[in-house]
Amino acid sequence: MPGQLGHLFVIVAFVAALFSTFAFALAARREALPEGDVWKKLARWAFVIHALSVAGIFISLYYIISHHLFEYNYAWKHSSRGLQVKYLLACFWEGSEGSFLLWLIWHAILGLVLLRTGRQWETRVLSVVALVQAVLCTMLLGIYFGADVKVGSTPFILSRDMGLFDNAPMFRDAATGMLRRDYMNFITDGNGLNVTLQNYWMVIHPPVLFLGFALTLIPFAFAVAAMWKGEYKTWVKPALRWALMGGGVLGTGIMMGGAWAYESLNFGGYWAWDPVENASLVPWLTLIAGLHTLVIYKSTGRSLKTTLIFFILTYLLIWYSTFLTRTGILGDTSVHSFTGEGKALYWHLITAMGIYLALSLYFLLRTWRRMPKVAGEEELDTREFWMLIGSIFLLIGSLFVIVNTSLPVWAPLYKLVTGADIAPAIDPVSMYNNTMVWVGFFVALFTASVQFLKYKKTGMGPVWRKLGITAAISLALTVLLVWGQKIAHMQYMAFTFSIFFALVGNLYYLIATQKFRLLKAGGSLTHIGFGLMLLGILLSGYKKQVISLDRTNAMQQWDFGKKTFEENVKESRENVLIFRNTSVPMGKYMVTYLGDSVVKNDPPITYFKVRYDRLDPESGKVVETFYLYPEAYVNPKGQDGISANPDARHYLTHDVFTYITSLSDPNTQSDTSSFRPFKVRTGDSIFLANGYLVFEGLNNKVNNKNYNPQPGDVAVEARLTAYGVAGRLGASAPVYIIRGNEATSLEDTLRDIGLNVRINKILPDEKAVEMGIRQRAQQDDWIVMKAIIFPYIGVLWIGIVVMALGFFVSWWARRK
């Protein structure tokens, strides 16, 4: 039922959006006429109905997920009963359909805002918005034309209608071969959210990112509307504000993804030039370029065409990034692979991009010659000239990234022409770094220097003086940093200089020219944030250090062609094995593995306790101790192996970052796995390998959390305390239960010392208890871990916050 309702909402949303598109377009054509007003009213109503239907789709799907209606494939595939409430939203957008829906929601909200604020631009801008909404709705339609052509895929489909059970006899009625009426009894729980996605970032990152995506639609819609109307003045202000908002939100969304990758996804950092990351970065770069050329146009009347093209390009790239990441075309090159929909989605997205491209080209070609332009070339000493050059550098950077990222798209063509089966570079990270560092270099220089220039004509005298001061200070700082951080590569020295130049120059401008009028200084603030971000990237990336180096096995390994032993070691041996209660030196720390403990969530998660002791290099004394608790899902959902989440210790100057890469299998122990019996009375001790246990007696009150009382139970709990050489190690409370005719024993574990304790039987005649004790041998309990130090990562996060703040200030300052 909720599914049929949901599907109905999809259809209504689609029809209403389509109608709204045409009604707004007609209203735009008959602007001054009375019938234009009628069309406008109709179009508005249609859009409101559309927005309500989108809300309806959301509510239906949320109802299905939160009520665990697993007959719906979407709920079964992406959620489970044990899922915490906050992740119910996350499983919403785990799937392709849900994320399209998220996108629709943001567009609908932004569209409603534009209904109120659009004024003379309302009809044309909303016509574009409604068109995009109609296209997005088709993604959720799930309608077949003939047997092979499928348009969209609905999240409201039942598993039984997908043919999932056709080959599963257990769901079939043996007599008739039809689906059993009670087949849902077999499906009591869903697959749940993938464990690697059970993270709070999964709750907040996609909505912010999709809001960023959605915001890029509006500058695009304004660009189209301006060409359509043939009026190139009043669109500038709203478009600029929306672009600023988009730049801030999309930038934040992208870097939230980086923060997530850094914090949990074991990519070994926040940015890996992964195709999915690249695909969202590129439209951000072109949006920023368009933002700057729009400012040029606003102040000088130049660069109108460039701006329009940038905004169109940005929006096409947003869809192209969806195309790259959703259709599985990236195949082998990405660690993110959202496949599944395959061919149908492939052509669907190409059609969508074709529609936007055709629309843009139609208006561009129609109005190209009639667009206002300023005669003559820009002068060299003007702000507009260098701002344009800066934007072109951003464009070059984005072209470089997107062409390389798209390699799997154009490689078949390349093979056809040249016969070579090309693959991405062996070391993509350094390939991207080595080019993008120069793009960053020039852009950073421009962010500072261009602000000192004026529009149209600048007297160069005072500018040279200011630039000279900035350069001198930056050079001094660069020398200090290069020397202090031992930066050895030429390109990174230059990069360091450009970063300081950006920081110093913008601060100088903020203080000397803008006199701290913060509302005016959104640009400078954003640039400072950008500079800090680059500085954070430089410091953390260049000096990232893996400290978990396995030296014991290094000698027998092969040569990696590096010059020194150290480098060879680094190349190959970043995983270190630690037995429980033993220590391994890592960097300036002694690292000790202390044991694990399992939290019985769904699915259960295991925490590993790792102690870091920082030793004074001279005296050898421990000067600092902290604990890290990297976690892992061990064999989750029948998968083989572990899915690990790291833990990190944050300092002002660096982060120490640890995660588990492998561990001993608790099931295939070679140890003395049987429980040895001990008969004890209150006060007796049991001796262990590394300490002893004191039996403190039985207790009728059971506190053990794993015990579920049932009526009629007779239960007692034994109290034991473990002591080691250093004193008390912990307490244990195994439980003995008589339920009906059966006696069961609930064992308790003391993970730190690898101890399992249970009550074998109670001997009332002797006033004694027989305990069963099993202690795991230490050599069977180990982890393999990796530890990395990221210096000054905090600078990066601060930079991002400042940058986002800068966008917001600019947006706020332009509200009138």
């Binding site: 082998d332 692979s337 470089f400 062409v403 693959a423 190349e571 995983n575 959902k637 083989d640 393999v784």
Partner: protein, 129 residues
């Protein structure tokens, strides 16, 4: 001036082309020992895999079949990847040496990485009926 810059941009893009690697087979990779390539292959499940972290946590040895059907020993210097057995396809980055493929990066193509498509209902039925 702007044209010059655009020309420079195209220059950069073209220059970056040279850095691409190529997909090879074990046979074509062994023709150039020492150079690093991508080899696309499949895990040979009929032969044993070796990963003993107690001995060496950074060595994982298995056999892979390339697209031409040739089977070679692959030595990976790292921990055994999760769900290795379920991989449909492997992209290994490394070089040939003495008939073995030494690699430092493996990318697995799994049936579906982010979505668990396997029907995991089978086991629960008995308990619930």
């Amino acid at each position: 001036m702007i044209l010059v810059l655009i020309a420079a941009a195209i220059g950069i893009l073209v220059a970056s082309f040279g850095k691409f690697s190529t997909y090879e087979t074990f046979a074509s990779a062994s023709e150039k020992p020492g150079s690093t390539f991508h080899v696309v292959g499949f895990l040979d499940t009929s032969r044993a895999q070796q990963y003993d972290p107690i001995k060496d946590p950074n060595s994982f040895i298995f056999f892979a079949k390339d697209k031409k059907g040739a089977i070679h020993k692959v030595i990976f210097n790292g921990a055994r990847p999760q769900d290795f057995e379920k991989s449909e396809q492997l992209v290994m980055t490394g070089f040939m040496k003495d008939g073995d493929f030494h690699c430092n990066k493996i990318q697995m193509k799994c049936p579906s990485k982010y979505e668990n498509d396997q029907i995991a209902v089978g086991k629960q039925t008995a308990a619930n009926l």
